[in-house]
């Protein structure tokens, strides 16, 4: 476990270093080193590139990745479905509909209002999904089905708005939704960090509850777990975490699905172990996706969300392929 964490941390450090070095203007290792330690030989231009442009972007990618992975881990446990990710709660489609509505319907919306709209759209959908699936208690299956239903409703609304909106507005909304960390700045990073810290800590502290709820409602309840309460609290945490990630970076898909699966394959079924590993994997994935998106067809920048999608689709197939003999 320790060795794995060290390995992942090293991987993450590698991705971060590469992200700081590569781009339109690539720095040599030496120049990067000089810049980071603030040596007098470093050029002011380099330090501007590293500290003002690339560092916030990398940090935002790390935070978003860790957040998505944590939210994905929670969703996987409470939904007990290998294909469940935070999107099941309607978080993505809710954010998309709200952002599209904001950009298309409001004349010149203030830039800061977009993440807020994204978050509230996500939260509203999660609440609606939970309430609609309540029938003297909830069940994972009901939440999943209602989540899918409401998501397609919200997607229909998004499509409707984009069909009738101004072409420029729609394009702006699409870019926002594509999932990218390109407009990162240190204020945004700080805001997301302070927003995430409490929910992340709470999620990690409830590892034992997740270990149990994953057994199924009846088994968990017979061991004395207040299943509906735990599930509701976990959905709140999940919404706070992934809603904020979506608000900060748009829709970066598949990380929430892939990271927890890789983590549980590496360290087994205990959530106390899955959480840190999944967070490191998620952070590395988003940072790597952003780096790849930046350099692969430079100077054009591919949004990280598209790159994670490119990684995610084959993983999805692999997941289904690997499960073809697993019953249940």
């Amino acid at each position: 476990m320790i060795r794995l964490l060290v390995l992942l941390a090293a991987l993450l450090a590698g991705v971060v270093t590469a992200s700081l070095a590569f781009g339109d203007i690539s720095l040599s290792w030496h120049a990067l080193f000089e810049t980071i330690i603030g040596s007098p030989e470093a050029s002011p231009q380099n330090s501007m590139i590293v500290f003002d442009l690339r560092l916030p972007r990398v940090l935002l990618a790390l935070l978003v990745g860790a957040a998505l992975a944590t939210a994905g881990t929670i969703t996987l446990a409470i939904m007990r479905n290998p294909l469940a990710e935070p999107g099941v709660l309607g978080i993505n489609s809710g954010a998309a509909a709200a952002v599209m509505a904001m950009i298309v319907l409001v004349q010149e919306p203030p830039v800061l209002l977009l993440p807020a709209a994204g978050f509230f759209g996500a939260a509203a959908m999660a609440v609606a999904v939970y309430l609609l699936s309540w029938r003297g208690g909830t069940s994972s299956m009901r939440i999943i089905l209602i989540g899918i239903g409401l998501s397609s409703l919200a997607s229909a609304a998004t499509t409707f708005l984009s069909a009738f909106g101004e072409i420029g507005d729609v394009q702006r909304a699409m870019i926002w939704l594509a999932g990218s960390v390109y407009d990162a700045n240190i204020v945004k990073v700080r805001l997301l960090f302070f927003w995430l810290i409490l929910p992340l800590v709470l999620a990690w502290m409830s590892a034992r509850e997740l270990d149990l709820i994953r057994f199924g409602d009846n088994s968990a309840r017979s061991l004395g777990q207040p299943v509906d309460l735990v599930r509701a609290l976990m959905i709140v945490l999940c919404t706070l975490i992934s809603g904020a990630a979506v608000a900060a970076a748009g829709l970066i898909g598949f990380v929430g699905l892939v990271a927890p699966h890789i983590a549980s394959r590496l360290v087994g079924p205990s959530h106390a172990r899955i959480f840190p590993v999944a967070a490191l994997i998620g952070a590395s994935l988003v940072a790597a996706a952003d780096l790849v998106g930046r350099v692969i067809i430079a100077p054009t920048q591919l949004p990280a969300g598209i790159v994670t999608g490119l990684i995610g689709a084959p993983f999805f197939a692999y997941l289904l392929w690997g499960r073809r003999h697993v019953r249940g």
């Binding site: 502290m205 057994f215 017979s222 061991l223 004395g224």
Partner: protein, 265 residues
């Protein structure tokens, strides 16, 4: 068991319990007494409400009306955790997450005894070790559940409920899907738990002869009502079998255990 026991409230009892799924009433006005430190078997045809009653006694379903009493107190007055400290349940076909080992599973049995931040205590460890030992799964502790045989897996699940250290164990069809040797092994385990560890065990069983041989108290259910309840030799009769299962039979004495043995005609 003396005749007097049946008149007391027993360890676990249902009083005028009605259970419904939506509008559909499964059980109506049931009065059922589970005697303390005995092995009680619930038998009856499919759809007679055995499993539903067991789940209700375990607090997993709320009765539409009536009360479930544990030591004479309504289980509604107990928190889910306090109930789980005293009553262990094993339902049919429980599912565990992939890759879980027997030890991981058994440790879950300590959940009701641990507060949110409590560390793993010596008592927790002792309870798990004992549960593994009683079920003969100590050597399997580090084996993933997925790679166990049906009988071993069932013992692992029972070990989890034993780690709860409750006085009462409720088992829903614990012998289904087990081969003969594992069925006998499980029945012997229940006997030991009742005789040597003072547990009160209630099991839903399909095999009338198995129930008659191992259980000390049998409750025959039909359409959500109790047809007969009492010692095996008092309740297993050709008439009862005919009226409940619609099967004509003769009842003879089991030449080995001297318990009633039902031979269908």
């Amino acid at each position: 068991m003396s005749a007097d026991d049946r008149h007391t409230l027993g360890k676990l009892a249902g009083q005028r319990v009605s259970i419904a799924y939506g509008e559909h009433r499964i059980v109506e006005d049931l009065d059922l007494v589970v005697p303390e430190r005995r092995f009680t078997a619930l038998i009856g045809p499919n759809g007679s409400g055995k499993s539903t009653i067991l789940r209700t006694f375990a607090g997993l379903m709320s009765p539409a009306s009536g009360t479930i009493l544990l030591d004479g107190r309504s289980i509604d007055t107990l928190s889910t955790k306090d109930l789980a400290k005293r009553v262990g349940v094993l339902l049919q076909g429980p599912v565990a997450p992939e890759g879980l080992t027997v030890r991981d599973l058994v440790r879950q049995g300590r959940y009701p005894h641990r507060s949110l931040f409590a560390r793993w205590s010596d008592e927790d460890q002792a309870a798990c070790d004992e549960a593994l030992m009683l079920t003969g799964t100590t050597t399997l502790a580090d084996t993933p559940l997925d790679s166990l045989s049906g009988g071993q897996r069932q013992r692992a699940w029972i070990a989890m409920t034993l780690a709860q250290r409750g006085e009462v164990l409720l088992l829903d069809e614990p012998t289904t899907y087990l081969d003969l040797a594992h069925q006998i092994e499980l029945m012997n385990l229940i006997t030991v738990l009742v005789r040597d560890h003072g547990k009160t065990v209630v099991a839903v069983l399909h095999d009338i002869n198995q129930a008659a041989r191992y259980a000390e108290h049998i409750v025959i259910l039909n359409n959500g009502r109790i047809t007969a309840a009492g010692r095996p030799e008092d309740v297993i009769s050709a008439e009862a079998i005919a009226s409940v299962f619609g099967v004509r039979s003769v009842i003879i004495r089991d030449p080995v255990a001297d318990t009633p043995l039902c031979i269908p005609l």
